[in-house]
């Protein structure tokens, strides 16, 4: 049995090792810093591989999606725990969890055929308006093609809502009933109780939920690949195309014939791995810092 449990550690060790080993050719060639800051990814002509476009793409899409998702996720958590009559609360909670059960490819499929056309309409409208009234905005907007960073951000935001919502829900539920009652007894409305006592008390758990959602967003592959446009340039516009670390691997891996190309892709994977570990550890530390009075949310 110890052997089996050791399998966990073995799996992790293999993960770290093989990612590093596989990427070592590229890393040795460009150096870790050079690799991360190199802006040119060119498997065709120059055989130069800099991962910065994908690092920027990953961070940009993930943080934007996170920002979009926090309020709706909190709203779901609050609705289920504080505002909804019991039968409705359970239903909403179940539906929110269902959001997490839909596979990434299905979101991608829906993204391509339903979301992107709608986004394209919206982008066109905004683009035309900006061309007329705010032309300084145009370079930040980019070509209103539908496929691009904005669509990826939207799909990501939809996908990560249930993670924050679920963890926040648990954290809010764990706030002791006396904390609420004491505030009600002072003459507070329900929203005042939530704002003054519940949310501050549960903030550790809520933060954990947010970080969890971030971790998911960073690694999300299929849906992003299908709607982001997959270019090698650093994304500088909202509507224009981009790529993330995960999406470039999915896109190019099976086509890569050159050893250096392959190794570079694995190196990108290694960087993603480091990023995921860093975010995870940061979450654990933050959780310990923010939990009040010994409450582990």
């Amino acid at each position: 049995m110890l052997l089996l449990a050791g399998g966990v550690v073995l799996a992790a060790a293999l993960t770290a090792y093989h990612l590093y080993a596989g990427g070592s050719q590229a890393l040795r060639r460009f150096g870790l810093v050079g690799f991360l800051t190199g802006t040119r990814w060119d498997p065709a002509l120059e055989m130069r591989f800099g991962a910065l476009p994908f690092v920027v793409g990953t961070l940009l899409t993930s943080f934007l999606a996170l920002a979009l998702s926090v309020l709706p996720a909190l709203a779901v958590a609050l609705f289920v725990t504080e505002y909804a009559p019991p039968p409705l609360g359970g239903v909403v909670a179940y539906l929110a969890d269902l959001l997490a059960a839909v596979p990434s490819v299905v979101y991608g499929l829906w993204g391509i055929f339903v979301l992107v056309p709608a986004v394209r309409q919206g982008e066109l409208a905004v683009y035309l308006w900006a061309a007329d009234r705010a032309p300084w905005l145009l370079p930040w907007l980019g070509p209103p093609a539908g496929i691009g960073v904005l669509s990826a951000v939207l799909v990501l935001a939809i996908m990560i809502v249930p993670f924050t919502a679920s963890v926040a829900r648990d954290a809010i539920r764990q706030v002791p009933v006396e904390q609420r009652e004491a505030l009600y007894a002072l003459g507070a409305t329900r929203w005042e109780v939530v704002r003054t006592s519940v949310l501050p008390y549960a903030r550790g758990g809520i933060m954990a939920g947010v970080i969890l959602a971030l971790a998911r967003a960073l690694g999300e592959t299929m849906a992003v690949t299908m709607v982001i446009g997959n270019t090698h340039q650093i994304p500088t516009t909202l509507f224009g195309p981009g790529a993330t670390m995960a999406s470039v691997i999915a896109n190019e891996f099976t086509e890569a014939v050159d050893d250096l190309h392959l190794s570079s892709l694995v190196a990108v994977g290694f960087c993603l791995f480091l990023l995921a570990v860093a975010v995870h550890l940061a979450a654990r530390w933050l959780l310990r810092r923010l939990s009040p009075g010994g409450t582990a949310a």
């Binding site: 006396e178 904390q179 004491a182 009600y184 007894a185 002072l186 008390y201 009075g293």
Partner: protein, 283 residues
């Protein structure tokens, strides 16, 4: 204590000001009026009836204790007095409860306004862990919309003095609330309730989670407080009831069995059930 010059204490009645100027005894002359009066109050949780047809008057500026075995309805009755049952979906309250003459369950009455006039302290001392001591006491005032720092400072100091906690915390008002001991935390909770100058203070087994020394201090505090606030205290400790209260109500199985002056009820109970309880034959 000098009369505060500021209008910060505008919420307090003139009688209290008189008292502070001329001493507590001066206000305590004739038979006390009723701060609150319950008439035919029943409480249902869904189909189950938890309280049956309770009528009693809470004398002003006195301590009224509610005693009885577990599950007898004393806490249920206490929560009727500040409309806490509104928060429970399945609970239904029937009857009339008068606060200074007006029915708090009347059709256009705002429960939030009621809860500012009838405060509550709970069994477990409640400290808001993300706030410091000052904010913990001031939170009720802030919720009521008070923003002026001078007013808040004066009210917090007054409340902490009334709760006999000022001297212990005056140098560390910005320390986290959780830094206090159990007994101190409960007095903090009392200060918080007092900061909004309620007319009545409800206490639900306030010392059952506190050590004996802390309990003593809180009981002393109650004896002081009653000169400015009407107090209703639920306790399962008969000796405590005998020590601190002026009037006692004995509850059993959702009914008010007997209500009388403390001395009389404990030395000469009228109802045999009361006698059985206070002589320890059950409960």
């Amino acid at each position: 204590m000098a009369i505060p010059a500021k209008a910060a204490l505008e919420a307090e009645s003139a009688a209290v000001l008189v008292e502070q100027a001329f001493g507590a005894e001066a206000a305590d002359t004739a038979a006390p009026t009723l701060a609150m009066e319950a008439r035919n109050v029943s409480v249902y949780y869904g189909q189950r009836r938890a309280l049956t047809d309770v009528s009693l008057g809470i004398p002003a500026r006195r301590v009224t204790a509610l005693i009885g075995p577990s599950g007898c309805g004393k806490t249920t009755f206490l929560r009727v007095l500040n409309r806490m049952h509104d928060l429970t979906r399945t609970a239904r309250v029937e009857g009339t409860v008068l606060l200074n003459g007006e029915d708090i369950y009347g059709p256009r009455v705002d429960p939030i306004a009621i809860r500012r006039r009838v405060g509550m302290v709970f069994q477990k001392p409640v400290v808001f862990p993300t706030m410091n001591i000052f904010d913990n006491v001031a939170v009720g005032l802030r919720l009521a919309g008070e923003r002026r720092r001078v007013v808040l400072h004066e009210a917090v100091e007054r409340a902490l003095r009334q709760a006999a906690l000022w001297d212990e915390v005056k140098d560390r008002l910005t320390a986290p609330g959780l830094a206090l001991s159990g007994g101190q935390q409960q007095r903090l909770a009392i200060a918080r309730a007092l900061a909004v100058s309620p007319e009545v203070l409800l206490m639900d087994e306030p010392t059952s989670a506190i050590d004996p020394v802390g309990t003593q201090r809180i009981e002393d505090l109650i004896a002081e407080l009653k000169h400015s606030v009407t107090i209703v205290i639920v306790t399962h400790n008969m000796q405590q009831a005998a020590r601190v209260s002026d009037y006692v109500g004995f509850f059993l199985m959702g009914e008010l069995v007997e209500f009388d002056e403390t001395e009389r009820l404990f030395s000469n109970p009228r109802d045999p059930r009361t006698e059985a309880y206070i002589t320890g034959r059950f409960g």
